[in-house]
Symmetry: C2
Subunit: 291 residues, 2 copies
Amino acid sequence: MLIPFLALLAGAQAAPPPPVSPPAPPLPSDAIAADWRPIPDDELMVITLGGNRSVVIRLAPRFAPEHVANVRKLALAHWWDDTSVYRVQENWVTQWGDGTEKKPLAPGIVEPLAMEFDIPAFDAAQRLSRSDAYSTASGVTADGWPIATDGKAAWMPHCYGTVGVARDSLPKTGSGAELFTPISGAARRLDRNYTIVGRIIDGMKYMSAMPRSDAAMGVYATEPERTTIVSVRLASEIPAGERPKFEYRSTDNVRFAAYIKLRENPAAPTVGLGGIDICDLPLATRRVGAK
Amino acid sequence: MLIPFLALLAGAQAAPPPPVSPPAPPLPSDAIAADWRPIPDDELMVITLGGNRSVVIRLAPRFAPEHVANVRKLALAHWWDDTSVYRVQENWVTQWGDGTEKKPLAPGIVEPLAMEFDIPAFDAAQRLSRSDAYSTASGVTADGWPIATDGKAAWMPHCYGTVGVARDSLPKTGSGAELFTPISGAARRLDRNYTIVGRIIDGMKYMSAMPRSDAAMGVYATEPERTTIVSVRLASEIPAGERPKFEYRSTDNVRFAAYIKLRENPAAPTVGLGGIDICDLPLATRRVGAK
């Protein structure tokens, strides 16, 4: 089937190869146990779709505190329960929330909020060798978030799987009730124009594989096309026995630095390009314990 | 539903707004009738999937003559009929061809071919203001193909929807019988390591929305998961009355130059980033006549 080499390049979340004997020695770019750090329970949000499919979002309260506060309030109010994924536009975004446009926001939700399109600082623990068409430098924070800068402002890039806040025309910023995620690689031009509240770290395959709508803006024209959202919960609200646990790979270490270099300059016979895009660099997370 | 502004940014293939009265004057970035040029019938290849879903590929014989010659032979031999889409890996690729690995190639198909990872020249009619992590310059040919260069070599980038030739480990190049397309934005690191034979210009929504496989390398573990390929035909082989016709938007004109500038520097209140990635710049094609 001519796939092995492609598969080797497929990223951190590909299935591991079968064990060999003796085991290969660790690479300088491999994480050690201490590199994995827990993601706090109140920074994990679980969307349960029909068919018992779960999508896990890592929230970014440090970068969008007001919007993430709203998102947490909406989750705690169970506001999204029985809402839907109502928009899937080819080569663009999947969007969810209240497709009826009639549901009042939960108590305590204020709109409009302050704009949180930019983030406080470009505090990259690792920088990439080359940046891209949208920034002058990009890199990752110690706790595994992709960030970019033009030398003045700093922001999070709209990579595949990023969770952004839908809004009406500016100066609206959106309450956080309607969320979207890019399902191709074409959303970077939303950088600095939308607030990002987190990114999908598990179950993106459900959001990305939904049927595209040909209707205007990719909004499903009929109710049956929509995917029901059974519930949305912060992990901190889920009973301990069922609560999902995730860790992120920290980047402020020589191993992650070596990992970036390996991605930028892979070993021959692969032709290296000398760089990698911030959205193509896998920022690893992993589930701890059983699903 | 808080979508209008996002929708405005959604690209050239978004549904047009309802007509207004009087009609808005054309923008300097709008194509005129003469900008649309026909794609030759033997450069269009139609994959018909079960359920009468069609995927149309524009072939790139100028950039990968040997591999495109093979692809044409395979199509004319009806080699792909009753093969399948057998691999869909999340955040990576959809791949199709002979999932059984047992089907002999059609007569006249020779493997290995010369490598056609690079293209003859960086003959960009328009360049982007800023390039990316994988190249020092990028742009588009007059006939609408994205290209990149490091100042020495030139190549086509592995954008979303690009059609690449799967292969075994180097120095294999692949016959062209097994093809793949990136379904997220993470495949640029395949640049200069795989041969590109074209790109999907219609029906990408079918390739991108197939269920992801959790099996190794995203290869469907069971036969029923696969999507049957009913037929693959060059448009030139299809009876005139049913033959699809497509045009591309040419780029060697001031209107496309203005279009790039508009994408790089959108009007306020949108915050412009001063650049756009070659894979995010819509290179328009359109169907002529009824489907």
